[in-house]
Amino acid sequence: MSTKNDKETIRNLIDGTLSWEELRNDVLPDPKASNRFEVVREVLEERVDWDEPILVPLNDHLFVVGSDDGRLVKAECGHELCSTDENWKLHTEVRVREDPDQFEELYTEQQSPHPDWGFQLREFFCPGCYQLVEVEAVPTGYPILEKFEPDIDAFYEEWLETTPPDRR
């Protein structure tokens, strides 16, 4: 008997509206339902206003999708950032906080980085809707990391033993 995996439960899980009791008793325990990925994918596809198949979510608002132009990183709002060969963060809008007054909008004076150390908070926004999609906390000059490069074909073909949705 696996944990709950019906669409309603998964919708609520994604929305964050499950109570602690529901989360603890119905979703967190093992074993997990083996088709969780497919249910999540269906729920996510129902929620967007575009038709390209979602291949894998990268975070709350960005997805790798299949398209006529190949695989793209696409935002929930419909903005297409780049192909999966590129680092999507280089196709966002970014605000950099590195001065004390900028840090102190988020934390108090005592609880902010020391100005002499050169820390930055880089806030990456979707150019389509200015949704915040990533925050980096790094020193000056640190490369913008591409944090996840999924092996999409291997996942579908070898683990799920199916054809990726964009090639069906």
């Binding site: 964050g16 989360l23 979510p57 709350d60 020391h114 150390w117 000056t140 990391l145």
Partner: protein
Amino acid sequence: MSKTTDTDTAAEYERVDPPIGWDGQTLQEMLDHSEQQLEETGRYKGLEELEMKENQPFEYEQLYSRLRGALVSARETALNISASAIVREIGELCFQLYTPEGDCVALSTGIIVHVHTGSLAIKYMIEQDYEHRRGIQPGDVFCNNDNDIGNVHTTDVHTFVPIFHDGELIAWADGVTHEIDIGGKTAGHDLIDATERFEDGLYATCEKIGENDELYQDWKERGKRGTRTPMYWDLDEKCRLAGCHMIRNTVKGMIDDVGAETFKQFMAEAVEEGRQTLNERVQERLFPGTYRDTSFMPMPFEERDHPEPAASQDMMNHLPVEMRVDTDGGLEVDMTGASPPGPHTYNAAEGSMEGGMWVSLTQCLLHDGKVNDGSYFAVDTNYPEGSVVNPQDPSLSYQASWGSIQPTYNAVWKNISRSFLARGFREEVNAGFGMTSDAVQGGGQLDATGEYWAVSTFDLSCQGLGASAARDGLDYGYAMWNPESDLGDIEKWELLEHGAVHLGRRVKPNTAGHGKYRGGSGWEGLRTFTGSSDISMFIGGWDGVGFSTTGMSGGYPYACGYTVTAQDTDFAERIAKQEKYPVDDTPPGSLEEDIEAEDVDRSTAAVLFPTQFDNNDLLHWDMRGGPGYGDPLERPVEKLVDDAEKGIYTPDVIEDVYGVVGELDEEDREFEVDEEATEARREELREEREAESVPATEFWESERERVLDREFSDPVTWMYSGVFERSPEWTESFREFWDLPADYSISEEEA
């Protein structure tokens, strides 16, 4: 092997002539063969099938449960022999059973970080041919806390007892406790000002410390004279030895019941099952691909006047983690680009990094199943030799290795969490954790009795946990190194820490990392001193001057920490006159309102090297929150009302970060939202994003100019130059990202 004589004080055992391995093999031959089988087949001992598990499942599971029960029982019983609050109250101990080759079969609850550290020590003894040279005999007792060989940090001390049957070494029992003091340069259980081994304290390098079940007299004398808290040392040692003997009795009972051959088969299958479990779990929960994250460890040692000249500089460690989820269910963890080791106490040996891996994976991926060295065999790790995470240099200080382990595993957790999210398991996502660092440590002498009291409070084990993708992080209740984290009772601590009295402990507002789901909150504490002399205290706080990690999916890092000391105060007069005195520093800067002090030191460095205190001085510290998850503007208003009323965030931060405008009635703790103003403020914050941001390519151009001009702070230059010197691969990736000339370099001389 039968015992020939029993006396009240010791047993006497018949000697066993080498070879002591199975079927006439030496231990080295067994180890070589086992490694060869793993290399050739990919399976532990080349096991094609788990025959016993498949054909006699009940007997197999019964043996595992009995063994696991014995290990837990040994822990729960033995800890009552100890008097140290670390062991007795917080349970900072663990027992393990290893094969003769040193592969962990099962372990108890507790500080399970040691699943592999004991393994390395046993393998060291095998490779150094203790079998013939030092001798491994029934009734022998060995001790190790040498980090370069197999340990997490110096104050973790292992006791090993070999278990013999019929002339063969069947297994090893191992017990480890975390000492309250180990006779290092200063008092404390995680020294922060040691810079080399010779300041770390008492070291035992796989040392034989007893025979015939009794500890050597000279070894006991060494502990008595070599530590500041000899009673705790002595009782902890007895606790470890008693636990190992309990395990030995159980193993012998199991062999009596099922026979030695069955027990041997069981051990091998349990390890192989552990390996297979990890592969299966990876395929069930993760998404194949490559993941990257980096943590940083700022060390503001110049700013805080480190007492050793070589270490009195501001430094920062670079702890990058590239993780690969293979299609065959394997995991690879690669730290290419990690900083070189340094004149600090955060050097971490390979064994301690492996320990960090297991204490992490058992919490996020392997909640169940057989956790043992089988899981270790399923993960390929690269902790680069000569780096801070694998120095291969016993002369370094390893007192506070957690200073590298914890930030590293924040990056590992984020990588694994990205994989959970990709796979749809949002509830398993964890944005990381507040680094526990080390709160107040030190000690003094109680005037009334002349007794030395040590402060090694483990209330540090309650930090904020990172948010998941479905809920907020746990408030002030988590430590990555011990899944059974516990703040402990102040009253219990004060029974031992006689001279250091708590004035207050409370939720620290604005410490939780922002996000749609916020990180868990941190807390703060304030102490004074009384009735004592020779008081020396320190604080090993991290994340003071900068961030070591961040949040996920738009979540922010938790707030930085700080410390305050107030010396030569009017505290005693205030008490005598029953006047108000400080119990916290909330809001920050308010502590001084209720105390007169000649000397107030307020530092965002969060670290304080050993400092002399007098009675009635004050010492303030704070503990970290957890990182957040998701865009803060998506956090529901009702949750922010709750945050305001619980004091997690202050109204000004709620307005500036979350765009929720309201008024807090401090008396009734009720927060009333101004809905219209909230709507307008949220819209304003969205508009600010557009107005204040630039295309990332534009940022890339401007930041590249700063990189070309080497506009780095001194500690950042220290970090880049060390990595450039050590890692050509990482250097090349840096040059490639910023499109730099092939001869571009960063060195401290160029700064």
